[in-house]
Amino acid sequence: MHAVLTGVSFLVLFGVIFLSTTHFMRHQIDDSVESELGEILTDVRGGGRDAYTTVVRSLSQHPAGFYYLLEDTHRVVLAGNLPALEPHEGVLEWGVAPPSAKAPVAAIRGRGVMLPDAYLFVGWSTHQLHEMEEMVIRTFAWGLAASVALALAWGSVVSGRLMQRIETISRKSRDIIAADLRQRLPVTPAGDELDHLTGSINAMLDRIETLMDDLRQVTTDIAHDLRTPLTRLRQRLELARSAEIDAESLRGVLGRTVGEVDAILGVFGALLRIAQIESGARQSGVAVVDVGMLMDTIVELYHPMIEERDQRLTEFVQSPLLVMGDRELLLQLIANLLENAIRHSPRGAAIEIRAVRSEDRVEISVSDTGPGIPADMRSKVVQRFFRLEQSRTTPGNGLGLSLANAIAKLHDASLRFSDALPGLRVTVCLKSAG
């Protein structure tokens, strides 16, 4: 393709140069013939045929490149160094075959003038012109051949390199598929289109790797978090089997065992629920809900528990606050946030729950005066099973905020953690529905 384009443009260039060159040379010949003819006419200056004969004959003796012919009306040569011609007024050019065998040159271009009783022709050899034409054609032929060859060579080099890079990329891709997701496609310093593409693919691989790491982390965490209670369970069952134990104590052991199994099943249930919410499978429950009413329900539900812990709760709702959402899930979101605040604050702490409209969003926030979360830990608390060292001893499975975050994400929102000075503030901004 490249070679064809080069060839065509070369041909166009050649055509233009060839035509203008030969045109220019013919013009030159015509000019000098014209002036020579003019000079003869001036020399003769109104003289008769004999005067012409004298001038032309003397000129023909020292031709200086010109060819002359003077013939009478019966085509009898009177003077000159050309054979007789068919008289022709104006420019005359002939090629290879001259009109007479006596012609000394192959090709002549010249001008003829009808005199009262004779015909005068002055010409110039077009030999140079033809040589020039030939040379131009030859030069261009070579040039064309060379440039097409070069273009072909360059093209094959470029496409060869491209193919090689594509081959490298696809080989690397296969490596990544087969074994190591940490590998990346090579990016050259050239920064061309292919590099742009591989850059995007590498970014995609980064994302996949992060997701895979998350997955691995979660799997490890699940295994770890369930292994511990299962181990405890097994130990207790082993003890109960080996020891001399009466029916009443055995029933007690079994009761506690069922309790622990329930806790483990609870963890599975929560994980499944998070996964289901994160997959976005649940859509049927979406309707217009009043956040204020949800907050009232939750506050009412938790109020006795808060009072029992001597904590103080302030509720501020700027009703009505309508959002598009899933009532059940949003209830759970608010409940999880409030429960977190209650659980992680000491007795006597102040808890504030508020919902306000801010532009086209409804902002729900829960703040407490508890120990808060260090800034560098805030991004981690929504991870499954993540628990701060300080809260290891409080009940909970480390899934509450993950679930809350999954619900927020389903509603195109996310949990924001900030410092309530002192304590923790968790904010979620939902899109307002009216």
Binding site: F268, G269, R273, Q276, G285, E300, Y302, P304, L331, E339
Partner: protein
């Protein structure tokens, strides 16, 4: 009570019939949707317990067919999925209640009892009475031994539910669902604190306590023997 259980898992079927047997119920089991549907139509039942996932015709379909043919028997769905949509789907198909596996025998018996009770009460009474505790459904007032007791709206609804199921066990989950319309487990002692507040208002200062806690199971409002 005569109960039909449509459940394909043999272990679960055995567990459920044992639990129901302990509660004094007589249980028949069918292990797939189509035979369950035939059996449910052929004999009279007090309660149907239907698993969501069944070979052949699935549980939702069975219940829908039964309801379309005019059956009014109370139906309890059993579901393993922690699916958030399952409850709504089940109730839309014509189920009266649902229970997520795994469940305790107490929870199962309490749900079945509540369903039987629901079908038994056809005429709506205007007053509920247990011993000297009286709840006026029209005036929305509560009196104990002739003395008016001031209750918060939610406390009233809690008491109303307990009194409607007087003598039965109601579980924590049932109260969350029926009184608060909350269908997730808040994982704390929220219900416990509400009950103890209500108990404070109803039972304090009276020699006979009416609200009883059954450890690890639930609550019951009744006159102690």
């Amino acid at each position: 009570m005569k109960i039909l259980l449509i459940e394909d898992d043999v272990e679960t079927a055995y567990y459920v019939s044992r639990c129901l047997g302990d509660g004094g119920h007589e249980t028949s089991v069918e292990s797939d949707g189509s035979s369950g549907l035939v059996r449910a139509n052929r004999e009279p039942w007090d309660v149907l317990i239907v698993d969501r996932m069944l070979p052949g015709i699935d549980g939702l379909h069975v219940v829908r067919e039964l309801r379309e043919s005019g059956a009014v028997t109370p139906i309890l769905f059993l579901t393993t999925m922690a699916g958030v949509d399952d409850r709504v789907d089940g109730l839309n198909a014509g189920g009266d209640d649902y229970l997520v596996k795994p469940f305790s025998p107490a929870e199962l018996l309490a749900r079945v009892a509540a369903l039987c009770r629901r079908s038994a009460i056809s005429a709506q009474p205007t007053k509920l009475r247990v011993a000297d505790l009286e709840l006026d459904l029209l005036a929305r007032t509560v009196m104990r031994a002739g003395v008016l007791i001031g209750l918060m709206p939610r406390e009233y609804r809690l008491l109303e539910y307990l009194m409607k199921h007087a003598g039965q066990i109601v579980t924590r989950t049932m109260l969350l669902e029926k009184v608060w319309d909350v269908h997730f487990d808040p994982n704390t002692t929220v219900v416990e604190t509400h009950i103890s507040r209500l108990r404070g208002k109803i039972d304090r200062g009276h020699t006979v306590e009416l609200i009883h806690t059954l450890r690890g199971t639930g609550y019951s409002l009744h006159v102690p023997n």
